[in-house]
Symmetry: C2
Subunit: 233 residues, 2 copies
């Protein structure tokens, strides 16, 4: 089963584990061990302990360097959004990590394989294994591709309610009327998907413009642009 | 003022900052900037954001490698003890970091210079600056000397109430009577300090023996030995 993952990692990321045992450990859940007493190996929990800190530092380092004008409040806010269960679970699903987990029978029955909390654990354990096997620099390259590049595409917006945040920010100055105005609705040629362009206005000033494949997503994107502009120093 | 710190760092740790600005930033508190508008520089908060994660990873990495038989619960417990306000403040005081802080006048009056929370911030900011200037490997060398070597000497025990922890652990099996028994009381020749040796007993079995310069400290040390022996797998 892990052969497939090893092939994927090599083809997509040029990652080859010199200690495949670490990779196996990252995908081994505790109850699987109890049910397979002859299986030699550990569960992922120690690697998860390590990987959690590796993630935190790689993310903090990236944000520190890429946003030189942000204060620590803004840095912390974005980091919290990125380094959270739902985000890790989404990243793990993209790489089909759920398929590779050695899972206990009871957990399998209860649907744990696709549960966010398990996928978060395995994501962190995988990062811990990668760190031990290949070092921090390789982890940073991997995360740049899989995790940090997604900041600009708005991937993490799904985990933040920017419309509420913008509302709260503007309300500090008194009561507010925020309007979301549709600017255009087009069809992308590449995949025939609709694209909405929406402006968010406050007192008839445009605060931000966002795009999305649904009105809801375009509004969220516009709110994010406005919120980030207003909180930028 | 920082010249003295730079000299100390060079003599004691062979650390020479190639960007002394970073060192200055790590010791600059926010209100000092407000009061000195011509001062060019930032306060320590962005470095503190970064340093916090650097500390977490360096500590997790050290514990992971040095305690290969501990499970993630034991690793997490020790890390929480090490990576906490009182511990960082104690480490910062050892290096007299309090003397170097550029502090706002109001903070000075209110006694902030020796407050744990400020010292924690500056400790983390210093580690962040060291990481940016010298890299993670140098941070690990510095922390090995100043922070990790102290695990074996029981330095972090002062931040943990091992007597209560031992009591709670044993109570899980029912009511308990724990006795602390003085074994000896001697005078160290080197500095004429008293040394107490104390055994902790449970149902008349000795669970651990500890030494300390007071009865209280020797009891705590004995409780730690017993607690760690009982929770080791």
């Amino acid at each position: 089963m892990l052969k497939k993952l090893q092939r994927e990692l090599k083809e997509r990321f040029k990652i080859e584990f010199s200690q495949p045992k670490l990779l196996l450990e990252a995908f081994t859940q505790g109850n699987y061990l109890n049910e397979h007493p002859t299986f030699k190996g550990r569960d992922y929990q120690r690697l998860e302990f390590l990987g959690d800190s590796v993630m935190q530092l790689a993310t903090a380092d990236y944000l520190y360097r890429h946003y030189p004008n942000w204060d620590e409040g803004q840095l912390t806010e974005l980091r919290i959004t990125m380094v959270q269960t739902r985000s890790f679970a989404a990243l793990a699903r993209e790489l089909k990590f759920n398929e590779y987990i050695l899972l206990g029978h009871g957990e399998e029955i209860s649907g744990a394989r696709n549960r966010d909390s398990l996928l978060e654990d395995v994501w962190e354990a995988f990062i811990g294994a990668l760190y031990l096997d290949q070092g921090q620099a390789k982890v940073e390259i991997f995360l740049s591709q899989q995790m940090f590049a997604k900041i600009e595409t708005g991937f993490y917006d799904q985990f933040v309610d920017y419309k509420t945040k913008l509302q709260e920010l503007l309300q500090k100055k008194g009561s507010v009327i925020i309007k979301y105005q549709k600017l255009s609705e087009t069809i992308k040629q590449s995949d025939n998907k609709q694209v909405f362009k929406i402006a968010v206005e406050y007192n008839e000033n445009v605060l931000g413009i966002g795009e999305g494949t649904s009105i809801k997503n375009a509004e969220k994107a516009a709110a994010r642009v406005a919120y980030q502009k207003l909180t930028q120093k």
